[in-house]
C-alpha cells in the first residue's frame, strides 16, 4: 500500500481493466480518423489505481527502452500528468507514438505482475493518455542542453531509430543532421502506418520536438546517391554516422501474374495512401486503384494496415489471405481484433498460387490452395503444407502483397567495407556498431523487419555507442587538454 493509492492489492485486483473509447466499427471502416480516442482522464485515473506498484517493477525490464513505468503511473495517481510524461521522456523520445503502436501485450504488459491472474495494467493506454495530455495542453518544454560537444553526427533515415538516435545525441550536446530520402519526415511512421492508427498531427508534433532539440533535418536526400557515406566523413565533416534506413524494399511471392495491373506491394499501396494522400484524389494528384474486391496476402501488421485501408477506400470485400492459422499471425492482437470488427474476411490456412488476369493484364481473380500445419520450421511455428487437390479461385480485382520487406540496398551498394548479413541486413554488434569505424546502424536495417520500439531501442543504444566513440576520439586527440568533467571521464574509462 502506498500513500498515493490507499487501496489494498486485493482491492486493486478487483478493478476491471479500463478500455479505450473507440469509434464504432461501422463508422471507422469508412473514414481515416483514429480508431481509438484513448482513455479519458477518469478512466486513466482508475486504471492507474490498478497498478500494484511492485517493489521490483518488472514491467520496466519488459520495455525495450526501459521506461520507469511505476514512477509515471504514480505521477498519474497524483494527477501530475506532465510529470508522468516527463518521466517517460527520460527514456523515450516518442511517447505519443509508442502509446499507440507498441505491442505492449508482448512487452511491459506481458510481464506485469497484476497480469498473472488478472488483465495487466493498460500501460500503453496510460502512456498515450499522458502524452496526449501534454500535446493537447501544449505543455512540452525543450529540455535544457547544458553542454556543447565536439563532433557532427549524420543520421541516415528519419524513421523511429533515426529520430530516437538524433534526439539522444542532441540531448548529449552533439550537432546532429538527419537525412531523409522522401519529402516528409518519419520513415515507416509516415509512409507505412496509416492515419487511423497514428494521426499525422502527432507525428508532425513529435518531429517538431526533435527539431526543437537543435536537430537539423534535410529531406529529399538519398544517402548513397545524393552523397555517399565516405563523402560524409570527408568533405561534409561528419565524425560518426548512424544508418537507420529501414527495410523498405518489398518482397513479392514470385507467383505467376504479379506483373498485372491491380497488384500492389503493401509498401506501394500504403505509400500512395499515407504519404501521397491518394485517398483524397483529385484534390491530391496521386491516384490509387483501390478495388472493390481486394485480397491482401500476409499476416503481419503491414497486412492488417493494408486490408483495413482497402476497406476504408471502399472495398466491398476485403480479404486477408494467410497461409497459417490466426494463432501464428505476427500482427498485434489488437489489430487483428479491429480488422475483424471492421468486417475483414480472413481466409486462413490459404496460400495463393497464381493471379489470374484478363487480356489487358488486369487482375480478375486469384487461385489459392488450402494448407495444413506440418512440422515446426526454423521460426518454431508449424510449417504450412499444401493439401493436394484443394485449389480454388477467389473473385477479386486487386491484390496487395504484404509478405515482408528487405533493407533497401542503396547504402550497402555505395558503402565499401560494410558487412552485410543474411537477407541484406547490415551486421552490427550489441552496441549497434557496424564493421566500419564510426558507422552505426539499427532498426529494420539491421533486424530485417521488427517493431517501432525495437528500432527506437537500437537508436538509443547507438547514440550511447556514438557518444562513447566520439568521446574516446576526442580524448585521444587532445590528451593534454581534457575537455570533459570528471564524471564524464569515469563513464568512458
Amino acid at each position: 500500500m502506498s500513500v498515493l493509492n490507499p487501496l489494498k492489492p486485493s482491492e486493486r485486483m478487483k478493478i476491471p481493466r479500463q478500455e479505450s473509447i473507440e469509434q464504432s466499427a461501422n463508422d471507422r471502416s469508412r473514414n481515416f480518423l483514429e480508431v481509438s480516442f484513448g482513455l479519458n482522464e477518469e478512466r486513466a485515473r482508475v486504471e492507474a489505481t490498478r497498478c500494484l506498484e511492485c517493489k521490483n517493477p518488472i514491467c520496466t525490464e519488459g520495455c525495450p527502452v526501459e521506461i520507469d513505468i511505476r514512477s509515471f503511473i504514480q505521477a498519474i495517481l497524483q494527477k501530475d500528468y506532465l510529470g508522468a510524461v516527463k518521466k517517460i521522456r527520460e527514456a523515450n523520445s516518442l511517447p505519443a507514438i509508442c502509446g499507440r503502436v507498441c505491442p505492449q501485450e508482448e512487452q511491459c504488459e506481458a510481464v506485469c505482475t497484476l497480469g498473472k491472474k488478472n488483465p495487466a495494467v493498460a500501460i500503453g493506454k496510460l502512456e498515450r493518455f499522458v502524452a496526449d495530455y501534454e500535446m493537447e495542453n501544449n505543455l512540452f518544454s525543450v529540455p535544457e542542453i547544458s553542454i556543447r560537444r565536439e563532433g557532427k553526427v549524420a543520421i541516415v533515415g528519419s524513421g523511429p531509430s533515426g529520430l530516437t538516435c538524433a534526439a539522444e545525441l542532441a540531448k548529449l550536446g552533439y550537432k546532429v543532421t538527419i537525412f531523409e530520402a522522401l519529402h516528409a519526415v518519419g520513415g515507416v511512421l509516415r509512409y507505412g502506418i496509416p492515419e487511423f492508427r497514428l494521426p499525422r498531427k502527432i507525428l508532425d508534433l513529435e518531429t517538431e520536438r526533435i527539431k526543437a532539440l537543435g536537430v537539423e533535418i534535410i529531406t529529399n536526400f538519398v544517402v548513397g546517391r545524393t552523397a555517399t557515406i565516405d563523402e560524409f566523413f570527408g568533405e561534409w565533416g561528419f565524425s560518426a554516422v548512424f544508418l537507420g534506413t529501414g527495410a523498405g524494399s518489398p518482397h513479392f511471392m514470385g507467383i505467376p501474374g504479379e506483373s498485372a495491373s491491380g497488384v500492389y506491394s503493401a509498401n506501394e499501396f500504403l505509400t500512395r495512401v499515407n504519404l501521397m494522400k491518394a485517398y483524397q484524389f483529385p484534390d491530391y494528384d496521386t491516384p490509387i486503384r483501390a478495388g472493390k474486391r481486394v485480397a491482401v496476402i500476409g499476416g503481419g501488421n503491414t497486412a492488417m494496415d493494408a486490408v483495413r485501408t482497402a476497406k476504408r477506400l471502399g472495398a466491398e470485400k476485403a480479404h486477408l489471405v494467410y497461409r497459417r492459422s490466426k494463432k501464428e499471425m505476427p500482427a498485434r492482437v489488437e489489430e487483428v481484433h479491429h480488422a475483424e470488427q471492421e468486417g475483414i474476411e480472413f481466409l486462413l490456412m490459404t496460400n495463393p498460387v497464381r493471379i489470374l488476369t484478363d487480356g489487358q493484364n488486369w487482375v480478375v481473380g486469384m487461385e489459392c490452395q488450402r494448407m495444413e500445419l506440418g512440422e515446426p520450421d526454423d521460426s518454431g511455428r508449424r510449417k504450412p503444407v499444401p493439401i493436394p487437390g484443394s485449389n480454388f479461385v477467389i473473385d477479386i480485382d486487386t491484390v496487395i502483397e504484404a509478405v515482408g520487406q528487405a533493407p533497401n540496398p542503396i547504402i550497402q551498394a555505395t558503402t565499401p567495407g560494410l558487412k552485410i548479413g543474411k537477407k541484406g541486413v547490415v551486421v552490427t554488434d550489441e552496441s549497434q556498431r557496424t564493421s566500419r569505424d564510426g558507422i552505426f546502424a539499427g532498426g529494420d536495417l539491421s533486424r530485417g523487419g521488427a517493431t517501432v520500439i525495437l528500432a527506437m531501442r537500437d537508436g538509443k543504444l547507438a547514440a550511447a555507442a556514438i557518444h562513447e566513440y566520439l568521446s574516446r576520439k576526442q580524448t585521444n586527440h587532445e590528451d593534454d587538454s581534457p575537455l570533459y568533467t570528471n564524471s564524464y571521464c569515469q563513464y568512458i574509462s
Partner: protein, 281 residues
Amino acid sequence: MFPILGKEQLSPTITKFVVHAPYIARKRQAGNFVIVRVIETGERIPLTIAEGDSDEGSITLIVQAVGKTTKLLCSKEIGDQLVDVVGPLGNPTEIAKDSVVACIGGGVGTAELYPITKALHEHNNKIYTIIGARNKDLIILESEMAECSDHLFVTTDDGSYKRKGLVTHQLKDLLDAQVEIDAVYAIGPLPMMKAVSQLTEHYGIKTYVSLNAVMVDGTGMCGGCRVSVDGQMKFACVDGPEFDGHEVDFDELMKRNRTYVDFEQEADRTYCEAHKSRVVA
C-alpha cells in the same frame, strides 16, 4: 525548395527548365533521373536529368506537357519554386569507349538521350544519331545532338520535317548499308523502343533502352516500377532505368503503364477546365 533559374520553350509543348539543385548537380551522371513534386498536393514524377552545371549548382530538365502534372510544371516561370527534387536516382548509363554506336531518340526521349550522346562523344565513339517524332513541332535539341554526333538523321511520322517515316526505317537503312554498329542506345516511347529492339535483335546488336515505368518513391521502396527483364522481376528505379532491350517484356510494361490512364485523364480534364476558366475570368 528548388527555384527555377531558367526556362526555355523548345517547342509548343516541350519546355526546358534549369533548376537550382546543387547536391544533385555535383553528382549526376548521364542516365540519372530525379523525382520531382511540383506542389504540396502534387504527385512524384521521374524526369531524366538532361544536363548539370556543378559550378552554378543547377540541373536541366526537359518536360513535355502531356498530363496535369507536366502541364502544371510547364506553367511555372523563372523564380517559381518546385517543392521537391530528389536524386540523382537510377544507375548511370554504361558508356562505351572507342566504338561505333547509334543513338536513337523518339519525341521527348531525345532529351534523355542527349546527356548520353554527349558522354559517348566525350569517350571517343563514332556516333550515328537518329531523332524522330510525330511531327516537326516535336523535334527537339536538333542542333545540340548534331554537335555531339558524327551523323545526324531526323524523321517525322507525317513528313512535316526531313525524312517521312520512323526512326527504325532510318536505322534499318544504315544497317543494310553495312554500317558496322557495336551498340544502340534507344530512348523514347515504349512502342518505339520495342521496334528498335526487335530490329537490332535481328542484326545481333547490343541495345540499351531506358524504361519509363510508373514510380512513386524512385528509391526501390514501392515496387510500382517493376518490369520483366529476361523473365526476372526488376525495379526500373534501382535496377535500371536502362536494360538490355532484347530482354525487356515491352508488351507487359505498356499494359502496366495504362493502370492509371482514367485517373490521368480525369486529373488532366479538371486541370484544363480550371485553367481555362481562370483565363476567361
